[in-house]
Every structure is written in structure tokens, then in C-alpha cells.
Amino acid sequence: MINFSYTIWIPLLPFLMFILLGLAGHKLKPKLSGLLGTGGLGIITVLSYITAFKYFFTSEKVDGAYQKITALNFTWLQFTDKLHIDLGVLLDPISVMMLVVISTVSFMVHIYSLGYMKDEKGFERFFAFLSLFSFSMLGLVLATNIFQMYIFWELVGVSSFLLIGFYYQKPSAVRASKKAFIVTRFADLGFLIGILILSFNTKTFDFITLTNPAGSAIAQGGGIVFLGLSVMTWSMIFVFMGGVGKSAMFPFHIWLPDAMEGPTPVSALIHAATMVVAGVYLVARMFPIYALSAPVALNVVAWVGAFTSLFAAVIACTQTDIKRVLAYSTMSQIGYMMLALGVAGYGGHEGLGYMASMFHLFTHAMFKALLFLGAGAIIHAVHSNYMTEMGGLRKYLPVTHITFLIACLTIAGIPPLSGFFSKDEILAAAFHSNKLLFAIEYAVAGLTAFYMFRLYFSIFWGKDTQYHHTPQEAPATMTVPLIILAVGSVFSGIIPFNKLVTSDGKILESEIELMIAIPSVLIGLLGIGVAYIMYRKESAIPDRLAATFKYGYKWAYNKFYIDELYLFVTKKIIFRYISDPVAWFDRHIVDGTMNTIASVTQNFSFRIRAFQSGQLQKYAFVFITGAIMLAILFIYLWK
């Protein structure tokens, strides 16, 4: 047994960094604090790679399956003797895989930010928040039990809130951060309820116990039935709700595009590569339960994923803000992963989708981070987010251009780039389980290629825009990460995921199925071709198209008015029709009653003053009547 206890430092280091920068940051020199943060991340990256190597290649398997290793675990908060929140480190294929992804991308982003955020106000604050995020994200993936996951789940939420709102004097940024936090918070409510139901049935939070295929949690099947569905299904659906929120699946996707208000490195790290895939990770984490005792919930996952991917892809075709396009493409790609999980089964060849999803998560992290960082470089050079204001940039930003192109090809699924392999696995999985889902994904593949190259062409080719000052290629601190990530997204396709990361830890035999691969490549190329025709040179085709499909275009351009719907619900329903009435009711009815009691007393005391008339004889009269009344009362009535 290898000793993994050092892994505690992987989450702990960024935390200490956060404390240090948070408390003393404003005293240090900005540059120093930036370097500190980056250095910390560097160490973590090294540690993660070591861990990955040791885990995958030196830890012994039991009958060919990777084991879940609890590196260390201590009780943080005791609820009952069975239920207690532990903090610890759980190593298994997916968590180790996530370690690599997070540390790599995060490290790249840190380096990139050194250049990108230079001479920004609050430089040290930025790195403090980044460290906080890294801490939370690492803690999330290493969680040994679902409640630890929830804790860090909340923490990534808040760090994303802080980072989106980094430019806290910009109202739009503030609004976006608020939106992101509240929407995800609402989703997390579902997650929490799911946990409650789950723990009530299984009396444990621990992942290993929960996800053990032979364990009681699964063996007891669905548990009792409530409103037609087994309780286990309910809990899994609720848990998935949390995933939907974090991963910006429909209908909780609305926060992600606005989240682009944050600094671009943040978008690359949090809203493309790591945090938004937490939902996928969550489902993968609970996968045995989904697959074995809550298939209905798994179906929900599949359909939500499929719908989102299509929905987002359509919108992406119409947006003009680079980062928003990328945001929607992120949503659609994550939809892919969800779908892949949804169509997967536990163990054997059934598990193809699971493996594919993890595979795509990995590659997507690379190329999407690359895309965002590239976009960042572009924005940095042009000082604009809108591709309508760009064009012909290829001659000014060579490095960015090449890396961006690579990324686009990867996401379009052109062999032999990594995207091809992962997407192909997903399509295969979908094909074997449900043809309709496969069709959707197939279409989405085309759309993806189209909108990515729409983006690419109109930025780097298209019309030769005149810039009032010629754009400069970004400094090395920014280009180096681009290159590294480009390399990553080219070659990460050859990693044998089927041997490493599978649903049951065993090796999964899968080979490229040409009769799926070839069409997918073709439709990718088709998409590129269309984009080439429409955007290589500036042409009237797009506008004409937009004119012909006026309404469709308008709806897609306005993101199908989902935001407006939410706005209506929150502003109108919650504020106007609940809170204000409640406040009114409280002031006027509840409080009013109390005041009424008081005033009635006063009033009454005013009315009865006539008794005290000051007339001796009236007093005497009252006296006599009183006496006689008492006499009558006690002699005749109440004896």
C-alpha cells in the first residue's frame, strides 16, 4: 500500500496561501503576492502529477480494478453516531484525473494572470481569490463523503461569486456575480435536500459505502416509493439538481453567460475548465447509485444533457460577444458529458459513456481553457469583446492565432486532435443506447464546428478592420500557457482513458468505430465549410439568413428569453407578490393587532371615566348597587 497521506497538502497549500494573501496581501508587493500564489500552484501541480503517476501505475489493483483509496479522513462534525461530516482525501481514477486537470489549468491560468492582470487594482486580492478557488475545487474533487463535497461545493460557489464580481465597482459585474450565486444557491438547495433524503435512507454520507455496488445503499434498491418514484430516485434527482446548477445545464444555465463579466482568466479556469464540470463530476461520483438503483434519474441526466447541448449550440451560433459564444459552447460541451453519463451503464462495455464523458471532460478542459485564454489575449489586444469589431487579426497575433485555430479544430472534432477521440466515444455511447439522443448529438457536433469557425474566421480573417492602435501580441507570460495548453489539447487524445478511468475501475475494451467516426468528422468539416463560406470574407449571407429565419434568429439571439422569464419570476413574483405583501402583513396585521390592543385599552379607559364623576351621590349609588349586586349574585345565582 503506498502512502498517500501527503496529498493533504494538495488542498491545504492553497488554503494557507489564501489566508496569507487575504490577511497580509495588501501589505506585500503585488508582484510578490502573485508569484507566491503561482508558486503554490506550481508545487500543487507537481504533487498532483506525482499522485497521478503513483496511483495509476504503482498502486496495486484488485482483480484488475483500480481501488478507491482513502488517503486520510477525520471527523469534522458529528451529527449522529452514524452520520458525521468527515474531511479527507479520497483517491480513485476520477478524482486523480480531476487533480491533474485542475492543477494544470489552474497553474496555466495563474501564470497567464501574472501578465493579464498586471497593473490591475487589487492584484493580490485576485490571487487570494484564485487560491481560495483552487482550495475549494481540490477539496471538492478529493471529498470522501457527499457532505464534504457539499461544503466545498458551496465554497467554489462563493469563490466564483467573488471572482465574477472582481471588478466590484462595475454594476454589471456585481449583478452577474449576484445572479451566479443565487441561481447556483437555489440549485444547491436541491443538492442539500437530496443529501438529506439520501442520508435518511442510507444513514451514511460516505462515498465508498454509498457507491459500493454490493453495499446496502444500492442493494436495498430504490427504498420505499413516494409519489410514484422510489425515494432513491428522488434523492438522486435532487442531487442532480445541484449538478445542473453548477454545470449551467438548462434551466439553471442563465448565470454562466453573465459570469463572463469576470476577468477572462477566471472564465477560463472556473467557467470553462473546472468548476462548471463539477456537476458532471458529481454524477460520475454517484454513478453506481444512478446506474444501479435510480435509472430514471439517470435518464433525466441524459435528456437534460442532450437538450442543453442542442439549445446552447443554437444560441452560440447567434452571439457576437466572443466570451459569450465560448460560454454557450461550454454549456453545450458539458451537455455532451452529461449525456454520455446518462446513456452509460455500470461496468463492462455499458460503461463506455462514463469513460467517454470523463475523457471529454479532460480534453475539453484543455481546449476550452485554451480558447478562453486565447480570447483573453485577443480582448487584451483589441480592448473589445465583440467579434463584429474584429477581423484580420491573424497578422497581428500569430501565436494566439495558431493556438486558437488548434483549439477550434479540436472542439470541432477533427482527427487526430484530442477532441475527436473523446467526442467520438460519446457519439458511440449515445448510438448504442438511444438513436434519438445520438441524432441530437450528431447535429450538435455540426453546429459546434460551425459556430467555432464562425468565431475563428470573423476574428482572424473576415474584413480588415482598422484599429486605432495596432494590436500587440501578448507577453510571454500569456503566450507560454497558450502554447502549453495547445500541446495538451493536441496530444491528450492519446491518453488511454479506457484503461485508466472507467465506471468500475476495470479496463474497458473500446476501439474507434469507423461507421460513427467518419460521419462525425464529415459533419464537422461541413460545419467548418459553411462557416468558411459565410465568414471567410465578409458577405451578406449571414444577414440574409437572419432575415429569412427572422423569428428563430431573434429568439436564439435573445437566448429564448429565459433570462426575462427568470427576471419576471424573481422581480414580480418573489418581490412584488410575496415579500412586499409579507412585509405589509407584518406591519399592518400582526403588528397592527398589537397596537390595536393597546389603543383599545386606552380608548376603553377613556370611555369609562364617567364612573369617576366627582359626584358624591353617584359614588354612593354605585356603592349601594355594587353591594346589592353582590348580594343577589351570591344568594340567588352562584350559591
Partner: protein, 473 residues
Amino acid sequence: MSPGTFLIMRHELLLIAAALSVLIAEIFWNPEKKKSISLFSIILFGVVTIIGFLPSPAGALFGGMYISSGARLLMKNILNIGVLLVFIQSVTWLKKEENVEKISEYFLLLISTVVGMNFMISAGHFLIFYIGIELATIPIAALAAYDRYRNKSAEAGIKLILSSALSSGILLYGLSMIYGTTGTLYFTEVTKLFGNNNLQILGFIFFFAGMAFKISIVPFHLWTADVYEGSPVNITSYLSVISKGAAVFILIIILFTVFPVIIATWQKTIFVTSILTMTIANLFAIRQQNLKRFLAFSSISQAGYILLGIIGGNQLGMASVIYYILVYIFSNLGAFGVVTAISNATGKENIDDYNGLYQTNPKLSLIMTLALFSLAGIPPVAGFFGKFFLFTAAAQKGYYLLVLIAVLNTIISLFYYLLVVKAMFIIKSENPIKKFRSDFPTRFALGICVAGIVITGFASIIFEAIRNLSFGV
């Protein structure tokens, strides 16, 4: 019987001696030094009070017409303390020009009322009781009209004397019924012969009405406010504390010893009247502006709470009532002491005259607050303990509803007590009462009151002592 047995009625004898000596002093005193009569009589009364505390034999005289027992002696002593405080408080007021002539009358009359009360408390026969009660009332009426040149004073006098005459008439009518049905007026005999026939209950009700008048229980209370407002402050405090206390004592004695047979009836009576008293009095008190009138209504509501102790008809009840009277003497005299001091210094008696008092006279306003809190039953002052024991006594017999009503009433009373506190502490005033320093007697009396308010509660020994004494009445 040997003259030694007269020691049994030592209190009364001493008081009579004191009264007479004040009279004689008045005759032979040097007219220039009239003022010092008050000092003389206070010392005299102080001596009497102290002697009163010496252990004395219990027993009966005149074939049971006069009874003396531990409890009754205790009551007398408590009253003496109160009277002494009133005397000390009134020194400043008596120094005034228009009063100097009448100093000795003041003391003479008051001491004779005390004599009356003592006889009343020691009564073993309705005759003694009647003489005592009249002796305790009529001079007060004279004193209520003491300020010859104030209309209100005269009005107070006439209202008091006439309504008390009426009430004693009705009381006597009740007594005559009782006499007619039992053929005797000895407490012990009456108890034996008392049945449950309507005439007797009628008699009892009339008797109760007469007592209720003295304790000012609704609906027999209406004279109270006017008389309290009209009479000089010291007489008001005397009325509100001493007379009321004495009446409560004798009422409880008679209820417990003479009418145990019809306990069911008088418990119902008290149940009804106490609820009426507390509620009505509080409702009236809310609106009062004149402090004396205000305190009048507050003292009526206090009577309502006291009835809660009586209703139990148990030893705890008796103890708690006596204890409460003691606490009440200190608290009310504290409040009245402040009112006296201020009205002597400035002649102001309205609540809004007190606005911003704390800025100018912090000590007085603190004492006032303490006293009012004690009346409202706020810890840690004695009033809290007093009320708690009263309620406990009622609850012991299961009158939880009554207790609930009572505590809810204490909230109303807290409201108007807080109005005074608010006036003194919170409301700003452009012309507050000027800063003044009250003379020694006032400060001395107030000091005693504060000490009483603070100590009586914590020192459980006092309550325990009272309780141990209050078996045999």
C-alpha cells in the same frame, strides 16, 4: 384580673399615653417652639414602636373581646413602622406657616387613628371592631380637610367622611343581620353559629362591602381617587398605606376566623371583586396626570393584587399578604416621599412637571423609579417577591386563571409606571424642576424606604419570620 394582664394590650395603652402626652405637651409647650413638637412626638412614637417589638404575652381580655396573638402583634408593629415613616416625612410640610399652629393636632389625630387600628386588629368582638374602625376613620376625615384654605382639601374631607359614614352604616346593617341570626357578636361564637342561610350571607356581603370600602375595592372605591387627590400629600400616603393596610389585616383576620364556614362564598366574592379591582383601577390609572390621583388608582389596583393572597384562605396566603403590606408600605411611602419632597419644594404634582427630572435631581428620580418598579413587581426589588408570593398563594388553590389575569394586569400597571419613568428619564423639558436639596428628615425617611425596598426582598428571613407567626390569628 391582675393589672399585669393589661400588658397584653400594651400597644394600645402606650399609644393612648403617647396621644395624651402630645395633648399635654400642646397645652404646656412654649408657643415659640411649636415646631419642635413634631420632633417630640416623633421620638415618642419611635419609642412606642421600639417597645412594640419587645416580646409580649399573647392572650385574650374582657372575655375574648380583645385578643392578642403573634400575628396581630406583628401587624401592629408593621403599621407602627409605616406610621413612623409617615410622621418623619411630614416634618417638612408641618414647618410651613399655615401648619405650625396645628402640628400637635396632626399628631394627636393620627396617633388616635393608630389606636383605633390597633383595637380593630385586636378585636375579638364586633363591637371592638366597630369602635376601632370608626376611630381609625373619623379623624382621618378631619385631617383630609386639614388644609383649611384649599377647596380640594375640604372637598376631600366631606367626600371621605360622608361615604365612610354610609359604608359603616351598611356594614352595621350587615352586622345587625349577623347578630340577629346568631345572637352573638363574639368572633368565636359567631363562627360556631354561622350557617349558610341567605340572611347571613346578606349580612356578610354588607359587612364585606363596608370593608371593601376601606380597602377601596371596586366597585366601592370611587371615593379613593378624589380623597387622595384632595388631601395633603402626607395624609394621602397615610390613607393609602396605613389605613388600607389595617383594613386588609382585619379583613383577613375576620375572613379566616369568623367566616371559614362560607369560605366558598367569600372566595367567589373575592374572585369577582379582585378581577374588577385590578382591571378597572389600571384602566383608570392609565390616563391620570396628577401624581396623587395616579398613585391612588395604582393603590387600588394593588388592593386587587392583595386580594389574590387572601383568596387562598391558607397560611401561605396570610403570610404573603402581611409580607406584601410591609413591602407595599416601603414602596408606596418611597413614591409618596418623593412626591412630598417635590411638592414641598415646588408645589408641582403633575406627571409632566417631572419631565427631565433625572437631569436636575437624579437621586430623587432614582428612588422614584425604584419605588415604582417595586410597585410594578420588577426584580430585584422587594415588590417582585411580594407579588410572586401573592400569586403563589393563589395558585396553590388552583386559581391559575386569576393569576393569569393578575399578571396581565401587572403589564398594564407596568405601562403607566413606565410613563412616569419615561417622564423623568427620557422626555426632555425646557423648564425642568429646579435642582434642590431636601432636608434631613425627608432624606432619612427616603433612605429607610429604599433600604426596605431593597432588603425586604432578598432577606428571606423576614418572609420566613412573618410566615411562622401567621398561623394563629
